[in-house]
Structures are given as structure tokens and as C-alpha cells.
């Protein structure tokens, strides 16, 4: 079954004519994604990697039946593109772009959530369901088809952990990178809910980091609603308070958002927490 993206995904790539958009349109198609269209205003009629380009998302949706979008446009125009996709009736949007202004993020996330649109990101690596489809920039070669659902606030750290899982023949149902910004379109709880319902998913891996209280809230949700076993890793055990560790959201501010508090909450909810990322596969096998 998998979640968010699968064989029914018909993908439009917003910003397909840029370097990233063009490179990843091919990578996504090679992974098995049904890429049906691209959009770049003013470049309608062009073709990128055999994919037709349209001037607007609504045109792409009308002519190709696209139901999912991947956004590669630069940060100043990301809100416009995401809202354009929502307006065109797209129900699943993966916004890869990083450095989107906070106030733009609040606006587009509010609209997406109120319209029942699944917005992943911004500032995220995307979603991959091995054997079915990938929407985003996750490296294809690290995946293996299986029954473990992965949800993570990180990008390359997710690759590290998925790669370690694959090396141990622990395949994935879907891997969702929700992104490291403060106001993500989709949070841990949204994805946990999907994994709990998904028949293919038998175990769940949650990768969190310091900052905010998303992991604590996830722990509460797991305790009440998740019956499947969960393994977690929290990055930033050794991060000092008051320093923003790369991600906008990764900061221990005012004594809140420490790794200790997150690990304690998760362990309290019956989650096995790995000390280092490479411990995740071992805990999954146990």
C-alpha cells in the first residue's frame, strides 16, 4: 500500500526547467514515478527529459491529470507555487525548497491544512515508497522495498539511517522527510497516523532532533494511537542550549526542546531510542 506517494501518483514538477528540477525529474522517473508534467511560467511548450512543460499548474492538471506536485522553485516564489498547486486542485505537494520565509510558510501551511491538502515541507527531502514512486530529492540507491515506515525531520541523516537499514536488508514501505523548518506542512503525528493505518507498514522509525516539542507530542500520540513498534533516534544530544544547529528549528531555547526530554517522552511511550544512528537497524531486528 505505502503512504502519500505510490503507483497512483501522477506528478507535476513545478520549476522543472531549473537545474534541480531537471536533474530530479529524471531521477524520480528512473525510480518509477509517473512524471506527467512540468511547469515553468513562460516556458510552456518546451520538453524536459521527454516531459511536457506548461506555463501554469492548472493547465498541467487539466491536460495531464496530475494529482501530486513537487516544488523546486526558488524560496521567494515558493508560496506562490504551493498556493497555485492548491488552487489547481492538487492534493499532495512536496516542497523541496529551503529558506522559505517564515511568514510565507505560516500562510501556505494554513491554507494547505484547511483544504485537506498534504503539504510535505518546505525544506524537505521528500517522500519515497520503494518499488512505487519517489517525489523529492532522496538518493534512489539507498532504498529497498519492505515494511518499515520512516518519518524524519532531517535530510542527509535520514539517508544515513535508511542506508544502514538497507544494508541489513531492512526494507521500507515509505520514507517521509517532513523537513527541519519550524512550521512544517506535515508533522510527525500526521505521518504516524498514516503508517498506523497502512497495511504494508509493520514497524516505524522516527528520526527527530532537538528544538520544539514535536517529538514529545509524537510520543503522546504513539502512546494512545500507535500499535506498531516504533524505533527512534534524536539528533543533538550533545548540542548546547541557545545555539541554532543548522536547521531553523534545531535550537534548545528557554530550556525547551532538549534531546533528554524527547528521549524520555518517547521511551515513556514504549519507543526504543537509539543512541547513535547506526543503532537503529539493531533495534529494529530486536
Amino acid at each position: 500500500m505505502a503512504v502519500i506517494v505510490d503507483s497512483n501518483t501522477r506528478l507535476v514538477i513545478q520549476g522543472i526547467t531549473g537545474y534541480q528540477g531537471s536533474y530530479h525529474s529524471k531521477a524520480m522517473r528512473d525510480f518509477g514515478t509517473n512524471v506527467v508534467a512540468g511547469v515553468t511560467p513562460g516556458k510552456g511548450g518546451q520538453v524536459v527529459n521527454d516531459i511536457p512543460v506548461f506555463d501554469s499548474t492548472i493547465e498541467a492538471v487539466r491536460k495531464t491529470g496530475a494529482n501530486t506536485s513537487c516544488v523546486f522553485v526558488p524560496a521567494p516564489y515558493t508560496r506562490d507555487s504551493v498556493l497555485e498547486a492548491i488552487d489547481a486542485g492538487i492534493k499532495t505537494i512536496v516542497a523541496v525548497t529551503e529558506h522559505v520565509p517564515l511568514h510565507d510558510e505560516i500562510h501556505m501551511v494554513a491554507v494547505a491544512r484547511s483544504r485537506g491538502v498534504t503539504l510535505i515541507g518546505p525544506n524537505c527531502p521528500g517522500v519515497a515508497s520503494p518499488g512505487k514512486a519517489k517525489v523529492g530529492i532522496l538518493p534512489s540507491k539507498i532504498f529497498r522495498k519492505g515494511n518499515i515506515g520512516v518519518v524524519s525531520r532531517s535530510g542527509t541523516l535520514t539517508y544515513e539511517i535508511v542506508n544502514a537499514m538497507t544494508e541489513q536488508k531492512l526494507g521500507q514501505s515509505t520514507c517521509v522527510g517532513i523537513g527541519g523548518d519550524r512550521v512544517p506542512g506535515t508533522g510527525f503525528i500526521d505521518v504516524l497516523e498514516l503508517f498506523e493505518k497502512d497495511k504494508q507498514t509493520k514497524q516505524i522509525v522516527l528520526v527527530g532532533e532537538i528544538g520544539g516539542t514535536a517529538e514529545e507530542e509524537a510520543a503522546e500520540y504513539i502512546e494512545e494511537h500507535v500499535s506498531k513498534p516504533v524505533v527512534a533516534y534524536i539528533a543533538g544530544r550533545t548540542a548546547p542550549p541557545g545555539k541554532r544547529m543548522g536547521h531553523a528549528g534545531a535550537i534548545i531555547a528557554r530550556g525547551k526542546g532538549t534531546a533528554e526530554s524527547k528521549i524520555k517522552a518517547l521511551e515513556g511511550a514504549g519507543v526504543k531510542v537509539a543512541g547513535v544512528p547506526t543503532d537503529v537497524p539493531r533495534l529494529l531486528i530486536e
Binding site: H99, T156, Y233, G236, P240, M245, G246, G275
Partner: protein, 369 residues
Amino acid sequence: MDMKLFEYKAKELFRKHGVPVPEGFVVSSADHIRAIPGPVMVKAQVLVGGRGKAGGIKPAQTVEEAREVAARILGMNIRGYIAREVLVEKRLDIAKELYLGITIDRTRRCLLMMASPEGGIDIETVPDNKIMFVPVDPFIGYQPFMGRRIAAFMGLSKDQEAQVVTICQKLMDLMVHEDAELAEVNPLVVTRDGKVVAGDGKVTIDSDALFRHKEFAGFPEDVTPLEEKAKRLDIAFVQLDGNIGVIANGAGLTMATLDSLNMYGGKAGVFLDLGGTDDPKKVKDAVLLMEEAKPKVILLNIFGGITKCDTVAEGVLEALKERDIKVPIVARIKGVNEERGREMLSEAGIIPASGLSEAAEKASKESQR
């Protein structure tokens, strides 16, 4: 990096949006104080809390005294930050101190107004029943009813309540129009003659929105030369207190690298995050930048996405070509053409590692030599 503004810059924005502030001016030299608007406070402009306790805020009655006090404060080292400017500001006759702030509510995914009838102290120490949180639904936006709830909570006269409602509106205007991620007035002062005025001001601008705020270019910031350089290269730089320089791509991976070092007794001194990229040019810049931070060991951990490992390794070798780097480098590059990349690094005298744990162990060992 977010852009934290000095108090006087924050107050300029307050004035621009109509939040009342005391009359005052900023100087970088005591001689520049020519006249004062009556008794004043002379306040060190540093981006660190506890200025007052450290002697960075002093009263003065006359011009001469103001100069004397300013001369003492200028150049003062306040918890590692040098006071290069002082704000000379009309002294407020304080009857009551309140707190008002706007920040982000990550759980509700919206702006959050915070208010307390007890200002002037660390808002963290205020008991729960003395602090009010008003989330601002993005579809509703700020409306006066929110300001009225806040004003009523503060226990003021009708006239002062009206002033607070106006200030809430103005502070929200600032938050939205200046793309701030924090706007805080602590204390919000009620004077003996019944006026509500911003005693202090803290504003942080969202650096991701600077493209639409050209006016902030060149705003003074409290950053070290290395932080400044990293910023220009679009690399996240964090100074820590160990001796291992960690370079990785992606915030989560960088933090996980720090955590792994800790397992083997190593401690990171500098954290460089290239972001989710494996661009060889950026890797080269980071290695050169890291060398300037003088760590005992450099640990490079790159998880390749688009670029091939041998190309990333080339970036490292180019850094070595450009500068004679004596510091030992432990490198772990993961991805396509890993073997080739590792060979290239070994030949150049770099300590190669294949896994994160192995890399962490080797770097920790090197750091303890």
C-alpha cells in the same frame, strides 16, 4: 542565521510602526553626547542578556555625567560581547512593568502573542497564571479583540488598556511587515503619568526574508569574523567548546556526527553545516574555513546525494592544494564511487573512514593525542 537586532535598531522599528519609545539617541563615542533630554539611562548595545547586572546600564543626570558613564561602558566586555555603542535614552519614571511579545507557535503553526502583568524580569521565571498566550489564527489575523484580551489581563486603567490595545496592533504590524520571527517588549513600562512605553526592545528578523528587505543590508550585527565569513558562504557555523572541527552536510547529520563523537570521548569545537548539499566547491570552502578555526582534528562527514564521492574528494584535495593544512583530517564520504574517493583521500594523507562510527572513533582518537 537569524538577524538579531540591537536594542536601538529594534526601537527604530518600534518608532516606525508606532510603538511608543523613550526619546534617545545612539553614540559610539562619549564625546558625541552634546545634549540630553533630562535625566537619562546609558545602555550598552550588546546582544546578550543580563546587561544591567554586568554594569552595562547606568543612569546619568547631566551631560557631563552621561559622557563619563558612556566612556566607562563603551568597550566594556559583557559576557564575551564588546559594547561598541551606547543608547542614551530619557529615563522613564516607572510605575509598573509589563511584558508583551510575539513569537511562533510551532505546535499550532501560527503566530503567538504572549503577555504578562509582570515584566522586566526573565519571562521564563513568571508563574503560569501570570502569563497569557494568545495564538493568532492565520485565517483571522490579528484583530483588536486579541489586544483587548491581553490588555484586560494586565490589570490596568481604562486609558492604559486602550494604549496597550494600540501597541498590540502596532507590534503585530512590525512582526508581519518587517518579517520578524520575534518582537518582544520587556519591560513594557507604565509611567507615573500614565503613559505606556517600550522600555526595552528585542526584534529578530527572519534571515530567509531578507531578499524583500534590502533596508536591512549592512545592519550592524554581533558576529565574529569567522561567523561572518561562513554566512557569506551560506554555511551554518556554530562555535562549541571542544577541539574537533566537524564538517557535514545537513543539520541532522552534523548533529548526529557530534553525538557519535561524544560516544568515543571526542568533543566538537566547531560545527559547519553545508546544508543538504554535497557540492565539491562548498566542501572546499568549508575545509579552508575550518582550518582558520584552528581545531585539533577536522572530521568531514558527507553523505552524497547528487555528486559522486570522487568529485567531492577532489574538492577536499583542492583545499589542500590551495593551503598547506597541517591539521589531521578524518574523512568519510558516502555515496557513488566511494572506493575511488577513499583511495584519492588516502593518497593525499587524509585518514579515510567508511562508516559514521568509524569516522567518529578515529577523529576522537586524533583529538586526544
